[in-house]
């Protein structure tokens, strides 16, 4: 009886933990950063389901604007570097800024 109860508890625990981890954003896993060039924006998603869809940018040459962004690189400090091709410049933004990409997670 005691053994059976332990097994049931373990199964329940597994189910609960599974549900819990499934409901959380996979913050520990790699995320995917994309230069959506002809939409003049950056996109970040958590995985290949598109979960955590987050965008930055519209067409232009001001702050938070891009004109055919192409290259993208995220450094160890989580700063995002972009080659904003048709603005003929590089852009760097902070990933962990308290109000940047992570703000909308």
């Amino acid at each position: 009886m005691r053994t059976a109860g332990w097994v049931v508890s373990a199964v329940l625990l597994t189910v609960v933990m599974g549900a819990s981890s499934g409901s959380q954003a996979p913050a520990s896993g790699p995320r995917i950063f994309i230069a959506d060039s002809d939409s003049n924006r950056l996109v970040r998603i958590d995985d290949m389901t598109g979960a955590g869809w987050t965008t930055l940018g519209s067409r232009g040459a001001g702050t938070n604007q891009f004109f055919t962004p192409d290259g993208i690189f995220v450094d160890a400090a989580e700063k995002i570097y972009v080659v904003d091709t048709d603005n003929q410049w590089l852009v760097r933004i902070d990933e962990h800024d308290g109000g940047g990409l992570d703000h909308l997670r």
Binding site: P30, I34, A35, D36, N64, Q88
Partner: protein, 220 residues
């Protein structure tokens, strides 16, 4: 998304601190920024976003220390620089910004050691070189700059293992070894060069879950 810390560097031109249709970049562990400055047929390295240490390599041509439409750029752990050239249909590797150790691979075509619009390059931790060969609608992987171990995946089409006609662009190999490719209005992920685990995300458009002309891709 506020874009906090927004900083720009560069303007249009061919001089110092200028770019003309720049395409890709790479940031090395020291924070130095390498840029493929496509229409200036050169690569540029700066120390940081102030432009300090501005250094260029290249002029238009097909010889050593020359480029024709450099697009992709990657710096390996040894500091060697890899560049894909759309105009010369080759990849080149050099030891540093002097061009020392210049090594080229590729001619135009669809066979082994050939490319038709190579766009992006990625070098994994084992030193294997991955290239998106856009007009051949395939990924190419080789062991080194001799072309040894030449392996391709892809053909033109819309099915599994197929890529768009001319839309393949960024490529990134994750620490787990999965290969991510930007392909026109979607991204593709595969587990290895057999195409196992073929997974796509994205359709054409500007709404959620949609892309138009995906360029670079980075996984972190």
């Amino acid at each position: 998304m506020t874009g906090a810390g927004w900083t720009t560097f560069g303007s249009r031109g061919s001089g110092v601190n200028q770019f003309y249709i720049p395409t890709r970049l790479f940031v090395d562990p020291a924070g130095k920024i390498y840029v493929a400055d496509r229409n200036n047929d050169r690569i540029v390295r700066v120390n940081d976003m102030t432009g300090a240490g501005w250094t260029t390599l290249g002029s238009r041509g097909s010889g050593a220390n020359q480029f024709n439409g450099p697009i992709g750029i990657f710096v390996d752990t040894a500091g060697r620089i890899y560049v894909t050239e759309g105009g010369n249909n080759r990849i080149v590797r050099m030891n540093d910004m002097t061009g020392a150790g210049w090594t080229a691979l590729g001619t135009r075509g669809s066979g082994a050691n050939q490319f038709n619009l190579p766009r992006s390059v990625f070098v994994d931790s084992a030193g294997k070189i991955y290239v998106t060969d856009a007009r051949n609608s395939r990924i190419v992987r080789m062991n080194d700059m001799t072309g040894a171990g030449w392996t391709t995946l892809g053909s033109r089409g819309t099915g599994i293992g197929q890529f768009s006609e001319d839309g393949m662009d960024g490529i990134f190999v994750s620490r787990a070894g999965q290969i991510f490719v930007a392909d026109s209005s979607r991204i593709v992920r595969i587990n290895d060069m057999t195409g196992a685990g073929w997974t796509t995300f994205g359709t054409s458009g500007s709404q959620k879950g949609q892309f138009i002309g995906v360029g670079g891709i980075f996984v972190r």
